[in-house]
Each structure stands twice: as structure tokens, then as C-alpha cells.
Symmetry: C2
Subunit: 404 residues, 2 copies
């Protein structure tokens, strides 16, 4: 590939995903495991339910007796949830049984209180029908002991938390999180608390990036390096020894002070590509050195944002052992034109109309318009080989805002 040639978006992603970093796994507590990637199979430690479980409050009887014509059952006792199983002494009698309790021995149906009249210690059944095992959730009906409940490779949601609690998994094997440094460069940047001079701006990319990594449980360290080649080289050298991944924002363009590609080369980080056929985010530089992976995104805030979503997060998910995510699509809601031969990441608002997702373009002033992101939920990925995109056409999207 010639120095100035741009790599295609799908090819860039392919190369990145070939650099599979396996971060290994670690054990965390059940509560800490939320949002992490499960790296073990979770199996039922016993039948689910573990016993014939009463699912309505009422009386437990032998249904045979009801079928034979008996409507009145003397109450022998009460089967509470959490109490050892009682045994019906006489089949002419019944036991009051509570939701969550074990079904008493020699009973096989529960008639709810709504359909029973109790007087003087005798329950009279008001309904005309009693089915075998009615209002009983039978032992093993949901899952059998040793059944696979959750496969390795899933993100742990509150649902998985509940199931792991049920089977007693209080220490959980999850994908270890990589050590991530997020590094801004650029002498124009001042801290958020600072008062920028007219030609300066405040740092923002490192905070956005930190936010994008947050759902995965990653708390990256933030660094800022000045545009000085010697200092940059020395400090980047130190970072490479300390982290699994370094995400840069800035200094990869063609400017006189864009020292990063040269410095990374000096530090023997192998360049796998530089410059991608996309907007925003064209100057993206990607390389590796042994176990260290370097994503060097351009400093433009929207470039960094979309590139993190398109390239870093899929690579991260793969490294965490997560099963690949299928591309999601939305229907373009207005004609849109973009002429350069670049994949365009169009800012869109997603609207769900009767089950179909429509992408409403709110392109703003293009790739540098960070404020415009607040109006939007996602980037619609428009292919490089076309200029005209028609209302009603379907394209993949990258979503950055979720309503829970």
C-alpha cells in the first residue's frame, strides 16, 4: 500500500480484530460481576425448582379424593415456605400451603384461598374442577440439575446476577479487564477547570473516552502529553511498559507537530495501518508491540468518539471473550448526500415507530461538531462507494445512547 493510500473501514476493523489480545480471566464477587463478561459456564446445582413448589396460597389436597366427590377437607396443618416438608396424615384432610413452600407429601394439587371457604377448621372447595399439580411448579420443571444455565461469553446483566445467586455462584470467573491509558496530546489543550486563552481549548476527549469504557467496568488512567518530541518519546515509552492498551487522541495527522507516528515507530510499535477511508477519523493510526496495542485516534472530538466505538470497543469485547455482536440496522429517514469517497459516520437520532427504527439525520456541521452529539443517539455508517443515500434505505448503526 502506498504511503498516502487510505485503508478501507472494513479492512481496518479486520486487521484490528486479528490482533486478538487475550486478557485472561479473574474471579470477582457476584455483585462486582455486573457488566463483566462471564468466562465460565453456569450450571444448575440442583433441580429448578429444587422441590415441588407451591405457587399460590391455598390448601393442598389429594386430587384423587376431589375427583371421587369429596368437597370438604379438614385442615391438618400449615405448610410454610422455608419449613420442612409436612406429610398429609389422612387423604380426607388437607394442609394449608403457602406460596414458595414445598408441596406436602401425599398431596398433588393446591386450591387457592379464593376458591375455598374455611369454617371451623374445615375447608370447603367452591370450584368444580381440580387438576393434578394445579398451582404447583414441579421439581425440575424449569431446569434439571447440571443443566447449562448461562454459557461462557455473555455479558452479565441483572438477570444473570439473579440466576447465579440462585445456584450459589458467589465467586464468578470473568474476563480480566485490560489496563488502559487514555492519552491526549496537543499544546492547545487546557484542563477542564482552566481558563483557556483565545487560541486554546479545554480537554474533553479523554473524559468522553473514559465514559465510553465505563459500561465495561474499565476505569482508564488519563494522561496528557505536551507536543514535545523528546518528552513524548520518553513518556510514551513508559506508558508502553505499564499498560495493555494505549488510546491516543491527537498528534497523528500530517502536521509539523504530529510526532506520534514517528515516535511509535522509534519505540518499535509496529504500524499496521495509518489513515482510514472514513470521515470523521481519517488519520487513525493503529499498531502493536508484543502485548501492547496502540489505538491512535485523531484529536477531533467526534473522530475520537466514533473511532472508539467502531474499532476499540469491538476489539475490547473480543479480548474479553464476548461472543461477537451482530450489526444492527436502521432505516434512513431522509435523503442524504455525501460526496467524498469515504465511509461517512452520520450523526442520527433513532426513533422507534411501530417496531421499526428510523434514523433521522442531524448532521450538524460535520465531523468537528461535538455539541451536535447531544441531539443524536447513534452514527449511521454510510458506505464509501456511494454519494446519494435514499430515504427508506437500511444501514448499520453504532449506538451511543440508551434509554433503560
Amino acid at each position: 500500500m502506498k504511503e498516502n493510500q487510505l485503508i478501507e473501514v472494513h479492512r481496518a476493523l479486520e486487521i484490528i480484530l486479528q490482533q486478538t489480545a487475550n486478557f485472561g480471566s479473574e474471579e470477582v464477587s457476584l455483585e462486582e460481576s455486573l457488566g463483566r463478561v462471564l468466562r465460565q459456564d453456569i450450571r444448575a446445582d440442583r433441580d429448578m425448582p429444587p422441590f415441588d413448589r407451591v405457587s399460590m396460597d391455598g390448601i393442598a389436597i389429594s386430587s384423587q379424593k376431589f375427583q371421587e366427590g369429596r368437597k370438604e377437607f379438614k385442615i391438618e396443618g400449615v405448610q410454610a415456605a422455608g419449613s420442612p416438608r409436612l406429610s398429609l396424615e389422612s387423604e380426607d384432610c388437607c394442609i394449608e400451603a403457602m406460596t414458595g413452600a414445598v408441596l406436602p407429601s401425599y398431596t398433588d394439587a393446591v386450591i387457592p384461598y379464593e376458591l375455598v371457604k374455611i369454617e371451623g377448621g374445615v375447608a370447603r372447595i367452591l370450584s368444580h374442577e381440580v387438576r393434578l399439580m394445579q398451582n404447583v411448579h414441579g421439581q425440575g420443571l424449569d431446569r434439571k440439575k447440571n443443566d447449562l444455565l448461562i454459557e461462557s461469553g455473555r455479558i452479565i446483566s441483572p438477570a444473570e446476577i439473579g440466576i447465579m445467586a440462585t445456584v450459589g455462584a458467589h465467586r464468578i470467573k470473568v474476563g480480566r479487564l485490560p489496563r488502559v491509558a487514555v492519552v491526549s496530546t496537543g499544546d492547545e489543550l487546557v484542563p477542564v477547570e482552566g481558563h483557556p486563552l483565545p487560541y486554546q481549548i479545554r480537554m474533553s476527549n479523554v473524559y468522553s473516552l473514559k465514559g465510553l469504557l465505563n459500561p465495561y467496568g474499565i476505569r482508564p488512567d488519563l494522561h496528557h502529553l505536551a507536543d514535545d518530541p523528546d518528552e513524548l518519546k520518553q513518556k510514551v515509552g513508559v506508558l508502553i511498559d505499564q499498560y495493555d492498551v494505549i488510546i491516543f487522541s491527537g498528534a497523528v495527522s500530517k502536521g509539523k507537530f504530529d510526532y506520534l507516528p514517528g515516535i511509535l515507530d522509534d519505540l518499535e510499535v509496529s504500524k499496521l495501518f495509518h489513515r482510514v477511508q472514513q470521515r470523521p477519523g481519517k488519520p487513525f493510526w493503529f499498531g502493536t508491540r508484543e502485548q501492547v496495542t496502540v489505538f491512535a485516534f485523531p484529536g477531533n472530538p467526534v473522530s475520537t468518539y466514533v473511532s472508539c466505538m467502531k474499532y476499540f470497543l469491538p476489539w475490547l469485547r473480543q479480548g474479553l471473550g464476548l461472543v461477537p455482536v451482530e450489526e444492527k440496522h436502521a432505516v434512513l429517514d431522509e435523503d442524504f448526500e455525501f460526496k467524498p469517497a469515504l465511509t461517512y459516520f452520520l450523526q442520527v437520532r433513532l426513533v422507534n415507530r411501530k417496531g421499526t427504527l428510523y434514523a433521522i439525520p442531524e448532521a450538524g456541521n460535520g465531523s468537528g461538531d461535538l455539541a451536535n452529539l447531544t441531539l443524536n443517539d447513534a452514527f449511521l455508517e454510510l458506505p464509501a462507494d456511494r454519494a446519494h443515500f435514499k430515504k427508506g434505505e437500511v444501514f448499520p448503526y453504532l449506538r451511543f445512547r440508551f434509554i433503560i
Copy 2:
């Protein structure tokens, strides 16, 4: 309403949302504000961009001179990002200008290095066209000073973080989080680390609930209370004094040991309803006492899960000052039948096919089947007044799993 009559789902939600608790607001740091609800407007502290910003590395010239026929421009200097604005001395010359830098005075266009040949300190422009302000992102083009950038009432995503950093908002006013207690009851429950006897099960609901609250930044305290009326009354009384919200899981059914409704009544928590026309989750009890709100869900894991999503989270969002969320819909992908006159929360897997969301039922063994949740992403809400639901019909859903 008669004691045994069930309240409709939409009416239950209406009553809950009328009990608006305003938790007030608090100030947090920029980084802590992720996922919180913004309770102030964020405005531009200066124009965005704050100056005419160079958006490509190249040479800055006076376009007028190019239009007059000049192709070669002697280089006067270099305008770096983060440096004070230079001034072009002679309009026959140019200044090298870097991405992110201020456009030098007396220049009005930037020609990228790709279209320039530099030799002996002179830049020769290779392109045939130069447009006014090309490769310059003009001051105030995106937003003007004092423009509203983010309205109060939005959830803060990484995009908002970046914008707030840009305008120097390092302390952010967000909705204060309520103090939440999540309380399990039921003598059948043992701790997750415990070894349940044959008639016991492990606690799981409190952990699922804690997980469901996590995205909002709420870290509830977890409690377990025994099924003893005196102890329950004493301990619930203490909780009411300590928390803004108490979420119970269990002891609200019609069983002999379901003491909670009576105890809440004794403690002067006013019942607003008990028992909802839905499955799972029918025995749901809801009430308030002054500033305390009590959601008492049935102990069945799936009941608790769906009820938290349907009732607690919308109430929470409202209390945090979040703008209401529109209902989202999906297309039922198979015929489904549910006969009881109850709103049914059907477990479904959501699949995006060419922009349309299809809900594939994986109903499992009904409301008690917690393990089934791992196969699913959402609950599809099927109305109570119908029994037959046809493939292709559209219904609202509650999603509990997100792919980021």
C-alpha cells in the same frame, strides 16, 4: 374498589407516577456525573469553535491572491495549535498552519499539504481551486456563546461529558439519588454462599434489583427480614425512617405469613393499591407515608424483575427530573396465546432485521422461570383484554439487556 378487585396496569402506573417524589439535586464532579440526570442547563461559555480553527494541516493564504493568479507563496512561519495567533506580513506569502490552530490573521483559506509542493521555503499550490474559508471551521459556526447546549433533564452520556468538559463545567448539578433499601422476606431464603436444605432456596431477588438500579448510580442497601410479625414490624419501622424508598420482595400475597400489608398499614403507610391485573406480579402492593414510598413486589423472581422495570424505574426517572421516555415497540414474531384476563409480560428475544425489531417469544415455564431470562432481552407487554396475539402485531416492550 372491592378488596379482591385487581387494578389495571396502566392505572397502577398512573397512581405511582402521581406520587412524584422530588429528590432534589446535588453537585458532583464531571467524571462522577456519567449516567446521572442533568439538573441544570449547559450553555456555551464562548463561541464554538472559539476561533477560526484550522481543520487540515497545510498552508494558510489569502484566497484573493490565489484568485488573482498567484500559485507560489513564500512561507513566513508556522502556526501551531495552542500558539497565539500569527499575522501574515505579506499577502504574497503564506503561513504553515496545523489542525486545531487559530487561522492566522490576513489569511482566509487553508490548502492541505497533499495539494502543495514545498521547496526552498516556498509552497506551490497544485490544485486549481481555492475556496474562501476552505478547511477552516469558522468561529461560532457550531454554536454561539450562551447558546443552550444541553437541556436540564437529560441522562448524561459520554457525549454530554465531552461537551461539559469543553465549556468548563467541572462541577455538575444532577438529580440527587434517593436512599433505597431493597428488602427480601421469606424464611425459605438462605444466603448465596449458604447450602440450602431441601425446602430452602438462595436469595436472588435483592441482587437482581440492585443490578437493575446500577445504571442510575443507585447503590441500594440490601436487607433480609424473617417472617416474624413482631420483628418485621419493628424493623420495617426503622427502615421507613431511614430511606426514601423501600422495595420489598415477598410477603404480599394472601398467605398466612404474608404479614407485610398488615404491618405497613399498622405503620401508617397508606395503601394506594394492592394486586394488579398482570402476570407475573399480581400481588404487588404500593403505598406511601409522607416522603417515603413503598414498592412491595411479590417474591417470585420474575415478578419482582418485571415490576421493578415497569413501575419502579419510571417513578425513579420522574423523581430524578428526567424527561419522560416514549414507549418502544416491537413486532411479535409468532402467534401467542394467553387466556387469563391479565396483562401478560411475555419474555422475548429482540432481533433487529433490516431495521425492524422482532420479538421472538421464549416464554419458558411462565412467571416463575428465572433461568429463562438468560435467553431473553425484554418483556413484551400484551394487553389484558385479549387472549390471541398474532404474528406481525406490534406491542410495547421493556428491555433489560443492551448491547453496547
